[in-house]
Symmetry: C2
Subunit: 415 residues, 2 copies
C-alpha cells in the first residue's frame, strides 16, 4: 500500500510555484449578470455604444446662454430639467437676448454657448442678470468629449472594480463576458477527525482544515465551494474523489506524507491524475502534492494534497492554491502582495529548508512593525492565528535582531 511516490524529488518553493502556474490555465469565458461581475476579470473588449456625453450636457444648475450676452439682463425663456423628454419642437431654444434655465445633467437647448452657474447671476422674477464675463463652453460637457461612439473603453483582462462596473452599466451592458471563478472541493482525510457535531473521543480531534480552507476560498472570491471527508482507506478516497468530477480545484488535507496511512498520492494517481510534484523544500508544508487530471470537455482539474497540520494547510493554500485560483481567474498579478517593515522582536530560527514564518504585522506611522508568531509546531494555531503575513527566510540558521528590516508577503488579511 506504500505510495509509489514516496521517493519523489524534493523541489524548491519557487520551482513548485512555477510548476503550479504553468499548469493553471485561464478558464474559458462565461456570460454573467453585471451584478455578479464585480471582482472578476473582463473576457472581451468593451466599446462605447454612443458618444459620451450623448448630448451637450449642463455641468451645473444655472442658465444656458450666448457668450455675447455677458453682463446683460435677459428674459428667461423656460426651463430644461435633466431627462427633459419633450420633443425638439416643444423645447426652449437659446437665442441672442434669451436665457434658458437649466439643471445639472440636462441636454443643453439648441443655440447654447455656455452655462452660467445660478450662483453667478441675479434673478428677479422672470429676468436674469448675467455676469460680466462668459466664455464659450463654460460648464458645458460637449457631446463626445469624454469618449466617441465605438471607442475602446475596457480591454479584455480588465479587472471589474466598482468603477469599471459603472462604465459597463453606462454603455448598457446588463450581462458581461468574464473569466468565471473556479469551483473548489476541500476533502479532509484522517480517522482521527471526529464527525461534525460529535463530541471527539479521547484520541480524536475536530476538523479545522475544512472550515479554514472554505474560509480562505471565500476570501479569494470563490462561492462554489464544498467540504467533503474521506476515511483513511483507498476505497473511501476513491469514492469521495469520484464526487469531484465536475470540480475545478480539489484540495485534500492530510494523508499526503510517506507514512503507511498516507494514501492520498496513491488515490490521486488511481483517479487518473498526473502527479507533478510531491515534496517541497519548505517549512511548514514539506509534504505537499500537486497533480493535474485531464477531463474531456471541462478542461484540466488541479489537485492539491496539503499536509494535515492547520498552519501547513493554510500556508499551502496561501502560496500555491491562491496563485492558481488567480491565474485561472485571469488576474495579471497572481502572487501574494509584498511589503516590508521592521521586526518588532528578535527571531532565532533554522532549518535545512526554506522557512516561512507567520508574522503579525501592524502599521507603525508610515511603516510596518512585524512580530514573528511562534507556536509549538505547525499544528499549533492558538499562538499563530493572528498572523496576517509570512516572512520568507532561506535554508540555514538565522538570528535576526529586533529592528531588522524584512520583506514579507501579506496573507490578504490586513486586520
Amino acid at each position: 500500500m506504500m505510495s509509489r511516490l514516496t521517493n519523489a524529488k524534493l523541489i524548491d518553493p519557487d520551482q513548485a510555484l512555477a510548476c503550479v502556474l504553468e499548469h493553471a490555465a485561464v478558464a474559458r469565458a462565461r456570460t454573467v449578470a453585471l451584478a455578479r461581475a464585480v471582482g472578476l476579470v473582463l473576457a472581451r473588449e468593451v466599446r462605447a455604444d454612443r458618444d459620451y456625453p450623448p448630448f451637450d450636457r449642463a455641468m451645473m444648475d444655472g442658465y444656458a446662454v450666448r457668450a455675447e450676452d455677458a453682463g446683460r439682463t435677459l428674459p428667461v425663456a423656460g426651463l430644461v430639467p435633466a431627462g427633459d423628454a419633450r420633443p425638439g419642437a416643444g423645447r426652449p431654444r437659446v437665442e441672442p437676448g434669451l436665457a434658458v434655465e437649466i439643471m445639472t445633467g440636462a441636454a443643453c437647448p439648441e443655440g447654447t454657448e455656455a452655462v452660467v452657474m445660478k450662483e453667478k447671476v441675479r434673478r428677479e422674477g422672470d429676468r436674469v442678470t448675467l455676469p460680466e464675463r462668459i466664455r464659450v463652453g463654460d460648464h458645458v460637457a460637449a457631446r463626445g468629449s469624454e469618449c466617441a461612439a465605438g471607442q475602446s473603453l475596457l480591454a479584455s483582462g480588465e479587472p471589474l472594480t466598482p468603477l469599471a462596473v459603472a462604465v459597463l452599466a453606462t454603455v448598457g451592458l446588463h450581462e458581461v463576458d468574464v473569466i468565471p471563478e473556479p469551483s473548489l472541493a476541500a476533502i479532509t482525510t484522517g480517522d482521527e477527525l471526529a464527525r461534525p457535531g460529535e463530541v471527539p473521543g479521547p484520541t480524536q480531534i475536530r476538523d479545522s482544515n475544512g472550515p479554514m480552507l472554505l474560509a480562505q476560498a471565500r476570501r479569494a472570491g470563490l462561492s462554489r465551494c464544498r467540504e467533503l471527508h474521506a476515511a483513511d482507506s483507498l476505497a473511501s478516497l476513491a469514492a469521495v474523489l469520484a464526487e469531484c468530477e465536475d470540480t475545478d480545484l480539489v484540495i485534500l488535507t492530510g494523508g499526503v506524507s510517506a507514512g503507511r496511512f498516507d494514501l492520498v498520492p496513491e488515490a490521486v494517481v488511481a483517479w487518473g491524475a498526473e502527479v507533478l510534484f510531491h515534496k517541497v523544500s519548505q517549512k511548514p508544508g514539506k509534504p505537499i502534492l500537486f497533480a493535474r487530471r485531464e477531463r474531456a470537455a471541462a478542461g484540466a482539474q488541479l489537485i492539491f494534497g496539503l499536509p494535515g497540520n492547520p498552519l501547513s494547510t493554510h500556508f499551502g493554500f496561501h502560496r500555491y492554491v491562491l496563485p492558481a485560483i488567480r491565474r485561472r481567474m485571469g488576474w495579471r498579478s497572481v502572487l501574494p502582495e509584498a511589503a516590508h517593515g521592521r521586526l518588532a522582536a528578535p527571531l532565532v530560527i533554522g532549518a535545512d529548508r526554506t522557512l516561512f514564518v507567520p508574522l503579525r504585522v501592524e502599521p507603525e506611522g508610515r511603516a510596518y512593525a512585524a512580530t514573528p508568531l511562534r507556536g509549538e509546531g505547525s499544528a499549533d494555531i492558538f499562538a499563530t492565528f493572528r498572523a496576517n503575513a509570512y516572512l520568507r527566510l532561506p535554508p540555514g540558521e538565522h538570528a535576526l535582531d529586533a529592528d531588522t528590516e524584512v520583506d514579507f508577503e501579506w496573507m490578504g488579511e490586513r486586520r
Copy 2:
C-alpha cells in the same frame, strides 16, 4: 418645494466623517453558522473547551519509546494510528525494552517518553534499532502545551480570518456570535435615467450609480443589498423610502443639491429622519447629505444622499459610507488604508475646497508610483475608472511636480 435645508452650513471632510462615525453604532450580535462568519467580527469571547493538544500527540511518524532505550534494538509491540479508537486496555503500552510504531497526530501510548522519527531508525522485520541519543519529550506535543482547558482564545472584537475560523472549528463551535453585516438599499433618482434594459432617449442616460454602489457594497462584504429607483417627485421618493423601513443603510444618489428638482433632503425629512449635515467642503461631492432615522426596535437607520455624478457617488461611498459600514460591523480600524508613493506625472489643480484626486497607483520596486487621473469633470468615469486610490489635497492652488512624495488612501481595489 425648495428644500428647507438649502442653506445648511458647509462643514469640512473631517468633521463630516467624525459625524458619520459618531452616529454609526456597532450592530447587535447575531448567531451565524461558522461557514458564514469569515470576514465578520466575533461578538463574544471564546475559550478552550479542553486541553490542546487533548493528549500527548506524536508530531512525527516513528516510534514511541523510553529515552533510556537510546541505541538499543527493540521489538515493535504494535502500531498506533491517528484517531486509534481502541479502548485503553486494547492499546499497546510503551515499556522499557519495547517500541510502539506511531503515526503523526496519534495519541502517544501510556509510558511514552519520546517519539523517534522513522528516518532516524533502522527497521528490520519486527525489530527496530534506535539512535544513540533520545531526549525525553522529543517530537511529542504534551497535552495542554498549546493551551489549557478554559483558557481565553479569542476576544470579543476579533476579526474572523480563516485562521481564526480554524480555531473556532477546533474548539467545536459550529455556530458563532458575530456582529452582522448591515443591509443596504441604493436608491437612484432622476428622470434623466432610462429604465434598465430600455434604449435611452436622446436626453436620457443609463444608470451607472446603482450597479456601482451595489458593487462597492459587495466588495465591502455586504450581501443583503438591493437597488431601487425613484422619480423626481416627493410622492415617488416617499413611496420608495417606505420600502426601506427594514434596511439599515439607505443611499440615495442624485437630487441632493439645492436645485429645484433636488427633493432628496425634503423627502428624507418627511420620512422622519434628522439631517446631520448636508454640504461638505470637498471636491468631488460637495452636496452630500447624512441623516439618521430612529426605529423603535431595530435601531437607527443611516441615510446618505450622494450627488448623482458617478465619481462623486463613488467617493462618497468610499469616504463616508464604507467607514460607517465598518463601524457597524465592529471593525477596530474603519478608515481607508493609507500608503505613500511618488507622483508619476505632474498635477496642477485647485479649488476652494478640500480636493480628492483619483489616482492609479502601481507598485514600483518596494515603493509606489501614483498617476493622477483627470477626466472632464466628476461625471466622466471613462478617464478615471482605473483609479485605485485617492489623493487628498488641502483647499487652494496646487502645482505638484512629478516625483513629489504623496500620501494616498487605497480604494480597496489594488489591481
